[in-house]
Assembly symmetry: C2
């Protein structure tokens, strides 16, 4: 019997192959193609327009590392906004924190949320938390209507193409700044420093023009292009490199990647990444 | 025109694809199949028995991270042994250190060294350093003949199959211990903690039975399985986590990955790796 492979071809003439046991879902939403399949070794896989968004096997790395550094760096993260991330994985990590009182998830594509609720219950489960409101809207527009509204904003975007491209522009970053409460902070996923170093460089420059503190950190996500992923932390008030993060009462239970020591270590960059983000 | 892809299928039903521009070399040595090809975006690629050993684009990560933590942790690394690593990349990093007086490279397969000298000059160039002696021998046997001979031993093995399997056993580790001078240290490449977590767990246990200090550190090598690679540092005398590494006079020029801050950060492990290496 022939084998079925999901193949994601990256820029730079490289690609990832994951063997598929069963294809579960494949639809065109108004925004994108949404596929969910059962892989042989990585659990279920969610792909948008042919790109891996998550596998059950390693999604915790990306979601823990997008959420916990921010939530541990803010002294009282009560109101949290997640832009994108319709699969619910980031929200699942946010609601692990008892300090959080209200979470808004703003996702443009209702069908991503519905597919995740049906096929990825361990990822989307946090969406049922009573503190969470899901809004089907454009993140760009949502920010404009919410001045000084959030302690923490997490930008869980996809690659900067199509609808998502405007989430990688200065006008978007200005709206994020505008939507933060005093003392607030935001974290953006900023792609692979190896395959999308130009994106990281450009985004860092744009953010430095707006925020007093801008710092990049890294995590290892094996099913993302190159396996190395960057996140960028911004704030007017909080310098993530010098604060003592809030771990009192310990970290939430059940984390598989993030640790208090890793908070600091993740901001220590290999030389080639330092070179990308230096002015 | 159809495209030519090099495909490495990993265990766990996953694989890496790299597009090939031109195939340069493909021979069966007495030990293994040796292939060298020009990829479209990663420079030249060396594969042994179908597994990526290096690409010119990212080999510096692995070679810097195998060599420099050890050489910076030892106060006077005069005599250095590299086992395996016939491509010469590890030796290139070793000879960047002025303190080093003598380097032995012990590689079982002469044809790997010859192919690297011909097709990978930027990798093999360090082999021409007058401090370097190349010996075509079994690393296992070589160690037996060299008691208390080396300040630093770097084990640049390939995956634990075939000839290389015995480099992942306690009898081999005992010989490494026996070949170290007092105050010496060794670093072993110990595979992907994601794809070969069982190897890392087993190796760590075996090493802890022999050495007082055993510590794992990580680096991101995009063309190795999972993109996350582990190294294990061992010594009777030197605790890599508490020493102040020797960076006086600065680091050697030309490094692209390793930095003094990264020395410490690389030993900070994600929780799932901590769990693998805890007793």
């Amino acid at each position: 019997m022939s084998r079925d492979w999901f193949v994601e071809e990256y820029p730079h003439h490289a690609g990832l192959m994951l063997e598929v046991r069963r294809r579960l879902y494949d639809v065109k939403s108004p925004y994108q193609r949404i596929e969910i399949m059962e892989t042989v070794a990585f659990g279920r896989l969610l792909a948008l327009d042919g790109c891996v968004m998550l596998t059950e096997c390693d999604e915790h790395v990306y979601h823990e590392m997008l959420a916990h550094p921010a939530l541990c760096a803010h002294p009282a993260p009560e109101r949290v906004l997640v832009i994108g991330g319709g699969d619910g994985g980031t929200v699942r990590e946010v609601v692990r924190h008892a300090a959080v009182r209200e979470v808004h998830l703003v996702e443009i594509d209702r069908m991503v949320v519905e597919a995740s609720r049906t096929y990825l219950p361990t990822v989307s489960g946090g969406l049922a938390d009573p503190r969470v409101t899901v809004r089907y809207a454009d993140g760009f527009d949502h920010l404009e209507g919410h001045p000084a509204a959030y302690d923490v904003i997490l930008v869980d975007s996809i690659d900067p193409v199509g609808e998502s491209a405007k989430l990688f522009t200065s006008p978007f970053y200005e709206r994020v700044q505008h939507a933060l409460r005093p003392g607030g902070l935001a974290v953006f996923e900023t792609e692979s420093p190896l395959y999308h170093g130009d994106v990281l460089r450009r985004v860092t420059r744009s953010l430095k023009a707006l925020f007093r503190h801008v710092a990049t950190y890294l995590a290892a996500v094996p099913t993302y292009p190159s396996g190395l992923w960057s996140f960028t932390f911004v704030s007017q008030a909080i310098d993530p490199l010098t604060i003592t993060p809030r771990f009192e009462g310990g970290l939430p239970e059940g984390l598989k990647y993030f640790t208090p020591s890793l908070y600091h270590a993740a901001f220590v960059l290999p030389r080639f990444v330092e070179d990308l983000v230096q002015p």
